[in-house]
């Protein structure tokens, strides 16, 4: 085996500037796309529960189509397809002094659309998890529907929504690697180019894997913290050991339900 340890350690501990830029772009795209996807998902989820059949139907079709087609296809359609038929072409824009590449815009849009369809279902399940009596109690106090959502339902639904949302974000960070196909110079594309001019394919991709692993591991800790806070808010002592979060459970833990 010809594993170039010197190259490996150097790439791991003193990564080149393009690599670091790729890492940062991966994080930025993930965070921005996730935030937008949650907002879009919330809109779709609320449409799904609307009084108006047309809105419910439109949201349903959206979820069906987006979840039923590959992200890769959606990305190419948005970035290359729209331009090819002359519908819309992304251009580099400058946003508060930062230049945002055309491909990055398309990437964020694509990830947002794709993820929002899944998130809409997560939010719907979260809202459904709140007992009907909570809606009634809030309404009986005289709260308008918007306030009922904001103060009574959402805080309770969040506890159910955060674990799957966190897992979505975890997935999203790894999925950014497919953005290389539309030329977004995130971590995967940079790794590929380093590999092609150094021929240290194995070493540099191991380094990339370690960085992806670091990202998802750090997020797992953040997610554990958020979930712990929400559980405490409901007066529930809930401990999922961090080893179980990272290494998987030996067998399912009993579900904990808030009382009252």
């Amino acid at each position: 085996m010809q594993f170039d340890w010197q190259f490996f350690w150097k790439a791991l501990f003193t990564p080149s500037e393009p690599f670091l830029d790729g890492l940062i772009l991966t994080i930025v795209i993930s965070v921005v796309a996730m935030v937008l996807a949650i907002l879009a998902g919330l809109v779709v989820a609320l449409m799904r529960r609307s009084r108006f059949a047309a809105l419910r139907w439109a949201a349903g079709v959206y979820i069906w189509v987006i979840r039923g087609t590959p992200l890769l296809v959606q990305l190419v359609l948005i970035y290359t397809g729209l331009a090819a038929v002359g519908l819309y072409q992304f251009h580099d824009v400058s946003l508060v002094g930062l230049s945002v590449k055309a491909a990055v815009q398309a990437a964020i849009l694509g990830l947002m659309i794709n993820e929002s369809a899944y998130i809409a279902e997560i939010i719907r399940a979260g809202l459904d998890s709140v007992p009907k009596g909570q809606f009634e109690a809030a309404a009986a106090i005289g709260m308008k529907p918007g306030k009922v959502m904001r103060w009574i339902i959402m805080p309770q639904a969040l506890r159910v929504m955060v674990p799957p949302l966190g897992n979505s974000f975890n997935g999203m960070m790894k999925t950014t690697s497919v953005l290389s196909v539309i030329g977004v110079s995130e971590m995967f594309l940079v790794t590929q180019s380093i590999s092609s001019y150094t021929f240290h394919t194995f070493e540099i991709f191991i380094v990339a894997a370690i960085y992806y692993l670091a990202l998802t591991t750090i997020w797992t800790f953040i997610q554990a913290y958020i979930e712990g806070r929400l559980a405490r808010q409901l007066g529930i002592e809930q401990r999922v050991p961090i080893t179980q979060r990272l290494l998987g459970a030996r067998r399912g833990a009993p579900a904990l339900q808030p009382q009252g």
Binding site: P131, G133, Q134, E136, A137, A138, A139, A140, I141, G142, M143, K144, P145, K147, W151, I152, P155, Q156, Q233, L234, G235, I236, P258, Q259, G260
Partner: protein, 266 residues
């Protein structure tokens, strides 16, 4: 428990009913749950609804707050139709106006329905702050006073999950009272409680009645009904079959169904 300095105790007896139901009909799942029901509740009156399960007591109570909507007939609370814009037009009331009207009606649920993510005190001051726009300090002070009055001054910072059923229900009553309602509706408030906790909730309700709070309660607590109610309304199969003061009703029920019902629960 001192409920005497109650800020929401009703004042003088007036002739206008606080609750006025006229020919209410309601069909749920193809079954007629309310069949031409008419009922007036005067200010300061305590009315207890009794009857076999499925008689429509809970539906009638919920329709007073528009948690259930009737198919025909009218329901006025403090002179305003609860589900419609005004007396004459058939137009449904908007969500803002419905919320405003509901805010003047206290509702106590069988299963308490406290907000689990809030402390007892938050449960109580949440409504005044979010709905009435009461300043937080003031609302919090009122909430603590109300909790004191239902005997839970020391539980203000507890979460519902840390309270017993009886304590939760008393918090729920305080939550409803915080809105200074014109009428309090109780939907089987003690049915979900262990026997030893029934008394503490009934005691709070008794105090409210003593202060002339207008109340409508669905309950199976016959002793409470006998002691506290001004009128007992017996329902059967969606109809009101008897409406009389407790003495008269218990000693001399007129309707055969009432006799049967009373004998089953005695």
């Amino acid at each position: 428990m001192n409920l005497k300095e109650s800020p929401m105790s009703a004042t003088s007896e007036t002739t206008a009913p606080v609750v006025s139901v006229r020919d209410a009909c309601c069909t749920l799942g193809g079954r007629k749950v309310l069949d031409n029901v008419s009922l007036d509740v005067m200010r300061g009156q305590v009315v207890v609804l009794i009857g076999p399960s499925g008689a429509g007591k809970t539906t009638l109570l919920r329709s007073l707050n528009h948690l259930e909507s009737v198919d025909s007939g009218s329901i006025l609370v403090d002179g305003m139709p609860i589900g419609h814009r005004d007396l004459t037009s058939g137009k449904k009331v908007g969500t803002t106006e419905l919320a405003r009207r509901r805010s003047q009606i206290g509702f106590v649920f069988q299963h308490f329905n406290l907000f689990p993510h809030m402390t007892a005190a938050e449960n109580v001051w949440n409504g005044p702050v979010r709905v009435l726009g009461t300043p937080k300090d003031e609302a919090r002070r009122n909430a603590l006073a109300l909790l004191e009055r239902v005997g839970l001054g020391d539980k203000a910072e507890s979460r519902p999950s840390q309270l017993s059923g009886g304590q939760q229900q008393r918090v729920a009553i305080a939550r409803a009272l915080a809105m200074r309602p014109k009428v309090m509706l109780f939907d089987e408030p003690t049915s979900a409680l262990d026997v030893e906790m029934v008394g503490e909730v009934l005691e709070v309700m008794r105090e409210l009645a003593r202060e002339h709070m207008t109340m409508v309660a669905v309950t199976h607590e016959m002793r409470f009904a006998r002691e506290v109610a001004d009128r007992i309304v017996v329902m059967d199969a969606g109809r009101i079959i008897e409406d009389a003061p407790p003495d008269q009703l218990f000693s001399n029920p007129r309707h055969e169904r009432t006799k049967t019902f009373l004998s089953t629960i005695a």
